[in-house]
Symmetry: C2
Subunit: 388 residues, 2 copies
């Protein structure tokens, strides 16, 4: 734990089959005007919309709706939400959906009373948070991003062709409460489920592959990886296995509520590359991460060999006997690739809408932050070509 | 994750060599009157008292002191603190010490404005928290209890000969902030260090030994155990190894800030027995836990065999080949016993001040809550005799 840190995460989590029963008591803590934000009409088909509306009605709230938030939520939608918040003097934003909806809502929370254009204020000028932040509550319907218990918000600015995350202060922009009923995730497609699972696994790896110390956080990240692999395999067999889906849901929340990464050196390069892939192709986030991960890790493992050896042994039970560290590390990456195949995720960028012409544009525009090694544009392009 | 749960832990942690530099910004959030609570004069010898007083002076606070909080803090001390809070209209209680000081402060926080005797109100009548709770901040000087990031308070009522924990609501009684500088733990004796380490290990086992599901929390608890074992071994070699002491400190905080135990069936029987041992002998908490653990687990492992097998394999790398589950489980308990010997902790109750006459009194008065199995008084007495 060599890196000093400050940590706080005040989100109240209600988890389980009965989680929704806590919505009423949460609603009582806020004023009358609620902005209800969701994506497509899925929540109207699976009954979640009705449950939420009933609690809102009983609580006597005036509800304004903002629907149609897409995966890879757009900045235009954020601005639409900001306008509604001001016009209707909103007291609580209620996000019903997955990471896209929640991320959109966080930027509405922070942007509604922003003195200038929020993108310019936060993303470009990195100004401090405005005084008036609108409280946010969450009803989660898809697992993956952990946005339900952190303060990050990834937004696609379509005009500028940039998809980029912004980390608001944890104590102010973490949702006030999040309702997590694993049964609500039954209705997402198998494709979305496995995409979400790999998103979580990628979060854990991005936090894990950095540093050379023997840090508590590394052991906890390994624990979460092992739990996720076990639960993913059970959910692949039976997507309606409550135990499996609930483990995936909590492994996801723990995977990026930041408590497992305190004091860590991290590496978020795979996410940087995928964000630009997403800006160009709109492919499912976790799927993009899976495709990019294998060539990326094959490029960088020599720079953090000790950690890739540990990953192979602790996560994939690679037996190191009679093998060089290089061989052990590569067997670990091969096992990761096998896990991606197990999940049934495509392995080529061409399968998810990328064209050869896009590759240099993605390579050029991706942030180069790295971990054990910072790749340049040429190296990112090489990585993209290897999985094209 | 079969058990539904609500979780919130709002404590802000400042961790590392520079942690104390955050005290000033925290003090600004509260009024002028501070109750400074500590134990013996150790903090005056190692300079921590001076650092704290300087920050308080610069912040212009009026300081009232309550010193002499003992390990196994007494209810009499709680009442003394409650009186001071009311007399001096205290705005912030600042605990400087380990779990005993912090636990004492929590009960002062909750008890100061209690309409009747706080022991009766909380411990006996289980009344809801009073409206006016005095905010609590912490400067931690000894690792173990995780009291710096939870809302539990273990108090010894000397008059009634009861040592018992009380769990206040997390959102109200968790410290507002905690300052964790691993270097501050250098000054505790080796005996206190290993006692603290085993206290943490016991917290992890008590949370782990319960349930038969494949719960995320179990994997995370295992991760914390493995991190702690590794760090403990490094600290035994060199107690001034910052990396080791910082890992112990964070493993301890994570070990009982309750985020690793959500949805868990738990077993706190070893703590129940030790609490009564502590009420009679005043022995170091972690040492008492270590002594009781081995005979206790040897009694209960058949009731949760699958979990003890997992413990042996995942934590102690017991090779199960050609062995029965019973043998594997017992090898795990034997490995735990070896770890206790490595720590240099006494293994007999007679070594820590217990007399044969006390055993029936301890067995009788210990709560019987159990986990996989609930022992009766006769069985607890047998367990005590086995380690006498």
């Amino acid at each position: 734990m060599n890196k000093d840190f400050t940590f706080q995460n005040p989100t109240r989590i209600h988890f389980g089959r009965s989680a929704m029963s806590h919505l009423s008591e949460e609603l009582r803590l806020y004023g009358d005007n609620v902005l209800l934000v969701y994506g497509r009409n899925a929540i109207k088909q699976n009954g979640i919309y009705d449950q939420v509306m009933q609690a809102l009605t009983v609580a006597g709230k005036r509800v304004v709706e903002l629907s149609g938030v897409k995966s890879n939520p757009t900045y235009a939608k954020v601005l639409e939400g900001c306008k509604l918040v001001r016009e209707h003097d909103i007291d609580l934003i209620l996000a019903v959906g997955g990471g896209s909806v929640i991320d959109c809502c966080k930027s509405i929370s922070a942007g509604a009373y922003c003195p200038i254009d929020p993108w310019k204020y936060y993303w470009e000028q990195h100004q401090p948070l405005v005084a008036r932040v609108v409280p946010l509550g969450v009803v989660l319907t898809m697992s993956g991003t952990a946005s339900e218990m952190n303060s990050g918000s990834v937004i696609t600015n379509e005009e500028k062709k940039i998809k980029a995350g912004y980390h608001y202060p944890m104590d102010k922009l973490c949702p006030k409460f999040s309702i997590l009923n694993p049964e609500f995730t039954y209705s997402v497609s198998r494709y979305q489920m496995v995409s979400g699972i790999f998103d979580v696994f990628s979060h854990l790896m991005e936090q894990y592959f950095g540093g050379d110390d023997d840090c508590v956080s590394d052991y906890l990240l390994e624990g979460d990886m092992l739990a996720l692999i076990s639960a993913a395999r059970a959910a692949l067999k039976d997507p309606y296995d409550y135990e499996a889906r609930s483990n995936i849901m909590w492994a996801a929340t723990m995977g990026l509520n930041k408590i497992l990464a305190v004091s860590k050196q991290e590496d978020w390069e795979v996410h940087q590359i995928e964000h630009q892939l997403g800006a160009y192709t709109d492919c499912a986030h976790g799927v993009g991460l899976a495709i990019v991960s294998i060539p990326y890790y094959k490029h960088i493992y020599p720079y953090g060999l000790h950690r890739f050896v540990r990953f192979a042994k602790h996560i994939w039970q690679v037996n190191p006997e009679g093998k060089s560290d290089e061989q052990v590390a590569l067997e670990g990456i091969e096992a990761l690739s096998g896990f991606i195949r197990e999940l049934g995720i495509p392995q080529r960028l061409r399968e998810v809408g990328a064209t050869e012409e896009m590759l240099p544009l993605i390579a050029e525009s991706a942030n180069k932050i790295g971990g054990y090694h910072v790749p340049d544009t040429a190296e990112v392009l090489e990585i993209l070509r290897e999985c094209y």
